[in-house]
Structures are given as C-alpha cells and as structure tokens.
Symmetry: C2
Subunit: 281 residues, 2 copies
C-alpha cells in the first residue's frame, strides 16, 4: 500500500508540507493567545458556504484589530490551490490569523496567516443515533461575535466533562444559556417551536442556515433561553460545521423528552443535509 | 563594535539560539490559545524571588491540567544554565508551558516548555516621575488565580488606550475593581491606609511582597475596592515584576490627589527596592 502523500499547509505566504509548518515562538498566539480563526468543509473539491465563512473570518480579524494579509479574492485563490494540492475527498480547512511576531511580547506585529486542510472528523454514527450528554458551566466568551482562538475554559473542562460521563459543555451566564465551546445550541419546545439563544453567541454559519429554514413545517427563532426552560425542553441539539445537527438527550441531570433524538431534530438534520447537497449543486 | 552574541532559548528540551526557536502549528497555544506562563527578573546572574515564581508557575499549570515536563529542581537547573549562557546584566526570564502538539486540534498533547531570556524592559523614568493614566473596562480573566497566556481583551484595548491618551487599562467587574492586564492595583486612602483588591486577581509576587511590608509606617491590606472609592483615592499605583511600584495619577476622567505621584507610593517603591537589594544579598 503506498504511503499517503504529504498534506500541504499555507504559511508565510507559501505552500509547505504540514509537518514543516512552524511559527517562531515570538508569535503573539504563543506569547498571549492572540488570534482568530475560521473553519469550513470541503466536499469533493468544493468549499461549502465559503462566502459566509470568509465574511466571518474578516469580521473576526477586524474585531481583534488584525489585518488579514490577503485580500478576499487572493485568499479564495489560495484556498482553491490548497484544495487542488491536497486532493482530499472530504476535508475541513482551518484558517488561523495570529497577532504575528511581536517585538515586545505584547503588541501585535504583522499577522501570520496559516491555512491547514485535514480529513474531516465528523460525529460518530453512534453519537447521532443515540444523542449526546452535556454539562453546564457559567462563562461568556470574550468578544462573543469574534471567533477567537481562546478555548481555555472549554479545554480546561475536558476532564470534568469526561468524569461526569458527558460529551461536551454548554455555557450559560447567570442562568441564561448561550452556546457550547465549538457549537451553537437549540431547544425544541413542547409546541414544536425551535429556539436558539440570541445574545453572546458566535454567529454560526450552520445556525444561520437553520434559521433560514424557518418555514412550514418548521418554526425556528432566536430568543432568550433560560436553564429552566432548557431542562424542560422536549428536544435539544448542537449545530456546527462538523456536527451539523447533533442531538442532545441529557443536560446535567435532566433527561430531555424521551431521552432519544427527537423527530424535529432529525427532520432538521435531514433538511440541513438537503441544503448542503443543493449547495454542492 | 562586535555584534551582540546570540541569545539562547530553551525549547524541546535543549538550548537553541532564540531566532531558531519554533513550534509546530499544531501546538495548542496556536490552535486554541491554551497555555500558562510566568516571568521573573534576573539581576547580575541571580533570579529574584525565584521560589515564589516557581510555586506560581506549577500552580498555574495544575489549574490548566498541564504537566510541567521538568521537576522543580531540574527546571531550576535549566534556568541557571540559561542565565550562564546568555550572561546578561539585567534580564527577565519568561517560562511558557503550552497545551502541546494536539492530535485533533482541541485536546492537549504533551506540553511544550519554552524558556526565553531578554533584556528587561522597565518603565521609563518619566513614567515613574510623572505617573501614568488608566482607563477602566469591565472584564474578569478566566481562571484568575492562573497566569494563562490569554490577553485578548487587554491587547484588543491597546488602540482605545492610546486614543484616550492613557497608558494602560484597569479591569473591574460590575463596579468592583480587580487588576490591570499585567499588574496588580493598589489605592492609598485619605487616612494613608493602602488597599489592594482581594478577589479575581492574580497572586502577584510583587503584590505579595508589598503586603508583607505592612508594618509601621505602612498599613497595607487586601479588600474590596469599588470604582467610586478608587476615583476618590489620594494615590494609586500598579505593581508587577517589571513595573515594581508604578504611580497612577489619573483614572478615566478623575485626577487622583495632587495629580502627581504621592509620598506613600514613592515610599513603597523605595521599600520594594530595598527588599530587592536585600534579596540579592
């Protein structure tokens, strides 16, 4: 069996084998955790919803006062070349923009732009079939509309999540639910309306795509979701680029509905899959 | 004039010229801003208050569930060798411990330990002589007792600080004062008592050293400081390893006392300098 060909990354303005992609330790991501990123899927050579992801990436950079070193058309060109070089059937591309090499270890330099492409790590079929469990934690991300690289709270909680037999954590602030570290959150109420928190959340592309599906038979809206409302929901799910619509069946000690992925959740997953297929043309 | 000899860093378990010290981009500091650090001064080859800084570094690592790859005695030995190699008259050593090379871009790997030593960047004599200006911002650091690498809020505010003609930002949460991004904060009240916030603050070594000076003529304590109390203070100052005791003369639109560094602040600066001289033996 032939070895896999090396994957390429884009760094310092050129394509480099991923295993040779390094940053000097003066970079402000290493010194001060300073940077933004974004992540999108590529199916059979075609990025899905690329414009929405590029919009958000440039907006995140602006919110952290970082200049993306490539104009949008040039960045789209680099993405296309990276896809051609790596030639993966199904992948995710991650774009990271750091604070750059800092002269004094605190003030940003010229931002470093990194692009990597890797095979996609999707939820397991078991997770989709049985649903996942969440714990809750009081925390609001800094600059919620920006997709910053700071995941200290979520990563620090990994051991606690595992110890409690859960799969992920859901953030709230003083009882008002927001999002998971890497996903937006929705509940399905007993009248079958679908609700997703409206404040202090990342503007998820999958979240946006779901909200755009709000037409009969679906009623989907943004609004305030409290912990108490959430514990009483009939169904719940996470959305993200890789998770798509991932059923949630337990939150803290509360089993939701029947304790199995519900019909509204599964119908929305199918609707999203249809939308993705349509986007691929 | 001969060129400066290259500075060495310690990375991947060995001493490497600083300009050749790189991390692979899979490191969790770059991918997720995940890491802790600490920083201490070295005078004429001798680290100042090293034990206190090592205590805090190992504590920070533990709070982020990261294992320092060197036992304490071995780390002290590496520090000693780094000081001998670089042979700087006055320097700061920074120890950074990252989440390591992550297989999936989210879960920590084997932590990477980096040590760098650089000439010390002290406040300018003008800043000490005239005092500095602060603005305020509502923010609480994640895991306040841990010295994490996350400075997104402070760095993002740099432009706003400059636009307002200020030098730094002071954090508060709902009107209760905490700390600056890289320094602790003290006020001097009109009865000459000195007070520093007691919750949601980093356990600063200089802060600790000042609190230990609380004996006549000084009365120094930890306690709650509100924005209103702070605006009415007679004097105020920041403390940190590099700033020592740095006078603050204006906060937002409020000029403190005479608008010049005050006698209690300057007496405490001198007391700290005496303590440092004593520590150097």
């Amino acid at each position: 069996m032939p070895a896999n060909p090396p994957l390429y990354a884009y760094i310092h303005g050129q394509f480099t084998p991923l295993d040779q992609a390094f940053l000097h330790i003066s970079d402000l991501a290493i010194q001060r955790g300073y940077g933004v990123f974004d992540f999108f899927k590529v199916h059979a050579g075609e990025p899905l919803f690329l414009n929405a992801y590029l919009d958000r990436f440039y907006r995140s950079a602006q919110l952290l006062e970082l200049a993306v070193p490539l104009e949008r058309a040039a960045l789209a060109g680099v993405i296309e070349q990276l896809i051609q070089r790596n030639n993966l059937p199904l992948s995710g591309i991650k774009m990271v923009l750091t604070g750059g090499y800092s002269a004094n270890g605190y003030e940003p330099g010229v931002p470093n732009l990194l692009l990597t492409e890797q095979p996609l790590a999707l939820p397991t079929p078991e997770q989709v079939a049985t649903g996942i469990k969440l714990i809750t934690h009081d925390y609001v991300r800094e600059v919620p509309p920006a997709k910053t690289i700071n995941y200290a709270t979520g990563i620090r909680l990994l051991k606690q999540i595992k110890a409690k037999g859960a799969d992920d954590v859901l953030y709230h602030h003083q009882g008002v639910v927001t999002e998971a570290p890497r996903a937006n959150f929705f509940i399905v109420k007993h009248d079958n309306t679908v609700l997703t928190p409206d404040t202090d959340v990342l503007a998820g592309i999958t979240r946006h795509n779901l909200l755009a599906l709000s037409a009969p038979p679906f009623r989907i809206a943004e609004g305030r979701v409290t912990l108490a409302e959430m514990y009483q929901a009939k169904e719940a799910f996470l959305t993200s680029t890789t998770k798509r619509v991932l059923p949630v069946v337990q939150i803290d000690d509360f089993v939701l509905g029947t304790g199995r992925p519900g019909p509204v959740t599964l119908a929305l997953l199918q609707a999203l899959l249809d939308l993705e297929a349509q986007e691929q043309g």
